[in-house]
Subunit: 566 residues, 2 copies
């Protein structure tokens, strides 16, 4: 490819719109162009990376007997009605009516379509296990697309769906996919990649693992134990809380004036947040029900845990229209109808606590949970904080930022049961097959690699997915001899390698900057001086290492370097 | 691939829903499954064909310096507003509002997106010519999807867009694509493939060629001259009409009673249809304007020509609400306001004709066009009929059925002008680059190959795009020796070939029928008898030719056959 013809302009300045390193670099290096909020065009360099990534993923999916299919982007309401998701998913799903007034939607994921594909096609236990997968466009109307390709509305996903006649068979296959995913991410050039337990979210099902690339730009919090193998997404992470003992005292109503927040109350009473009971109130969506959560004052509510516990969508409420006294809500003598009241594990066994008095200007101190409140149950609805103890080995936990680049779920019969997919078992009875599903966001992987593999000069592509292997960079293209030699070298090298040829008559500075910004693994420079010695200069993007090589040995040397970088 | 695990069931009976040979065969052989009207899932065998086809097309596009990109399926209204197509395209385009109430649409084609991609990226004449292309999902909400993959609503298209600094440069590049298309269709295994001049339809622009595969299931009429090279889609085809001379007589109003249609009038007056003037009336869509077309009674109106002439969408009207006398409309003394009146070339120079008298029960005879009507212009708005004379060599024309598998258009500045894409020319001025666009419907090609290449037993895949090269077909799988040898052969052959392994313990009849229905080019049978002689039986799907081969020569022989079939 001649850079003079390449669709994809390099830009020096960081665009204002860029909020993540990968976003900025992919825009600046001419890899992507925004079409609308969260919708991008992949320019030729990005599409080259994209195809290489897809081929790696395809190879690994085929190795575990995946069968590639192509299910549609546009689907009719009917197949999403049976699973219930046509109604349960909110406005992230695009719905429209076709010209015949038929309800249609854009696929956000393809569990229903996968069951439809295999319905009446897979009929017997001895056909299973089967896994189908595809690379297909998804559209999710995200409220807040951000950070370039890291959170978009339209994207290509590799999504796979497996069918099993028993839980044991699913477990066995799930483990195979788990291992294939590690191979994939390694081959894509990712380094700090871990698998963590996660919430299954809208997919349903019980067991779920996420593959997280640990980089600063990540928007997920990953709780990790540096001493044992414990790793979990904050959404499902747990910890052993330190036992705190306060003095057990009788209940007493105390004046706290305008002190409302935990910090204000603690300042006023000269106590620590961990001695208070915090109330956090949620409204249930599409309902007038309230949820009031009580949690130790130094802890935060973990909303994914809360939603999963309730099996309801909830949103923080400002209490407008309720009789609750904002800033003075307490768990002692709380009189409210139509509310679910929940207590977090962090309050269990504590005494000497301060809670709101449910009237303006007052709190109650000396609360003994077991004596004064007696909740029927305590629940785990708290976020883990850095330094809390590992639930496995009791050592202090760390929290890191991660990008979810893939996820795998055990779905059970969540889809096969309502969609009435049945198979014959060995004993002649019929069962609903058990499913697993397996996703990788291809574009997000591309951006994640850039997050992890770049420096102040630009991207550093791993050899396996680099858009081109070699940046051929002749200096002084106004020199006829150089130009002739460069053209000749371009033809020769293109026979064996993927070459981006900088055929422009511009300065060495511009050429070097572009080659570094675009992140091509190997740069080959020829100049009047190097040609005098019949040599080319090779520079490795990753290490900056430079070598001079005789032109007649160039192909041999490049092969060697490519092998060592692969 | 083991057939026992293959997602894709073979069915004996032709499904009721199938209206075309390819539709029936692709359903019966387990290649596709319908999800909704005009929306299909590609099962694993079809997706294998699909990927091979895409690779062939990709190779040929890259050979003519195409740069692969990926533009989005979902686009914002804005970029389609500038070109005017947001409004001019009807309900074939899916429009919806996103969660932020923003108008969005599903891409039916990507001219606007291609200009958006290159806007401010291509800036100078010396960057051109440039061609970008993609494989991307399109959605066209067709009124009448039909015939399986031949006319669908959702499909994958290879669409390419080129940019040029001069018409000469476009002409040169257009010719390159034209030749690449022939190479592509040949490599896809198509035989009766021709290029014809066509109408540019909604793409706009002037020059357009279609690539038509001549098969009975085609829905396009192709006008061809068997004597010279003239070929054109009926939409744009012309012919030299035979000069017909009737006796020149004075005008005379005659009673024709209830005779209304051309046939009735001819019966009544004992004349031939070619001696009459037929009136065909259209309403302009979204307007109260009428279009009245007069044409020789034996000819039909060519609606695409008419629409192009008018640059308006029109539809046949039943004349309700007009003062026209149905069945008696004539061109002599026709008094009507707000109507466009057009005369077809077929009437030019004729005399002695019969036309309606514009009153109930009467016609006028003796019409001499030049004497009595004196139209300012005659236009070509007629369909060509079989046997009319070739406009080039005056020999009788033939009409054949074709499937449009690809098309190429010269677009001029139809998109770059309104979207304000400009490039610097050599003399320092600015111009709007000139565009070409180039489409291939991948799924339609797949079905077209099946239309052309199949027999009563099933599909006959060309080797280049066959889902598997070899169908390994052991007989008597209940025999342990056969089973062991088959497994062994499957492993060995899979190292070098793409093998579909029929590992089922079913009859030879079922296995042979499935291998023929699925159209795998080579069948390799081992049976207790063949193993006695240490042989396998090879059958070529296309010819039915059978040979016995020693097992130790099998790989060599298969290589030879694959080469000869490629």
């Amino acid at each position: 490819m001649r850079i003079s013809k390449l669709v994809g302009e390099r830009i020096k300045e960081t665009p204002n719109s860029a909020t993540a390193r990968s976003h900025s670099l992919l825009l600046r290096a001419g890899f992507i162009k925004q079409v609308s909020n969260g919708i991008f065009t992949f320019l030729p360099p990005a599409q080259r990376v994209n195809l290489k990534m897809q081929n790696i993923i395809r190879e690994e999916m085929n190795k575990i007997d995946g069968q590639e299919v192509l299910m549609p982007v546009v689907m009719p309401k009917e197949i999403w009605e049976k699973s219930g998701r046509y109604f349960s998913i909110g406005n992230e799903m695009v719905r429209f009516k076709d010209r015949n007034d038929h309800d249609m939607l854009l696929g956000m994921t393809h569990e229903e379509a996968a069951v439809h594909t295999c319905l009446n096609v897979l009929k017997s236990y001895d056909q299973l296990p089967v896994m189908i997968y595809q690379f297909q466009t998804k559209f999710r109307d995200e409220a807040r697309p951000r950070a370039g390709l890291l959170r978009v509305r339209e994207f290509t996903m590799k999504d796979g769906y497996s069918f099993h006649s028993s839980q044991e068979d699913l477990n066995k296959y799930y483990q195979k996919v788990y291992e294939a995913y590690f191979r994939i991410f390694k081959r894509l050039g990712m380094k700090n990649l871990i698998a963590v337990k996660s919430d299954s979210g809208m997919m349903g099902g019980d067991i779920a693992d996420e593959f997280q690339l640990l980089v600063d730009a990540g928007e997920d919090d990953i709780v990790m134990c540096p001493h044992c193998d414990y790793k979990a997404n904050m959404e499902v992470a747990t910890s052993n809380l330190e036992q705190i003992n306060f003095k057990d005292e009788p209940l007493e109503e105390i004046f706290t004036g305008s002190a409302k927040t935990i910090d204000e109350v603690c300042d006023y009473l000269k106590i620590k947040p961990c001695q208070t009971i915090k109330a956090v109130c949620y409204a249930v969506i599409n309902s007038d029900e309230l949820v009031i959560c009580f949690i130790r004052g130094d802890k935060e509510i973990n909303e994914p845990k809360l939603k999963k516990l309730l099996s309801k969508e909830v949103v923080i409420t400002d209490l407008t229209g309720t009789e609750l006294v904002k800033g003075n809500i307490g768990c002692k003598d709380l009189n409210i109808k139509n509310a679910i009241i929940l207590y977090d594990n962090s309050l269990k066994g504590l005494c000497g606590l301060v809670t709101g008095a449910n009237k303006e200007g007052f709190h109650i101190k000396g609360v003994n949970m077991a004596r004064d409140i007696k909740p029927e149950n305590y629940y785990d609805i708290a976020k883990v904080s850095e330094g809390e103890k590992c639930p496995i080995c009791n050592q202090p936990l760390e929290i890191k930022k991660g990008i979810e680049v893939g996820n795998i779920f055990q779905l059970g019969t969540k889809y096969t049961l309502p969609m009435e997919m049945k198979i014959h078992t060995q004993d002649g009875s019929e069962i609903n097959p058990i499913m697993g599903c397996y996703g990788i966001g291809v574009g997000r992987c591309l951006a994640s690699v850039v997050e992890e593999s770049s420096d102040e000069k630009g991207i550093i592509w791993p050899m396996s997915i680099a858009p081109w292997q070699i940046y051929l960079c002749p200096l002084r293209m106004d020199d006829e001899k150089i130009k002739a030699e460069a053209e000749n070298l371009y033809q020769t090298l293109s026979q064996d390698f993927e070459v981006l040829y900088d055929d422009r008559n511009v300065s060495a500075g511009i050429k070097f900057a572009d080659s570094e910004l675009m992140g091509i693994p190997i740069r080959v420079v020829i100049s009047p001086r190097s040609l005098e010695n019949n040599q080319a200069e090779i520079t490795i993007r990753k290490t900056g290492e430079k070598t001079f090589v005789e032109l007649e040995n160039l192909k041999y040397k490049l092969n060697e370097i490519i092998k060592s970088l692969s």
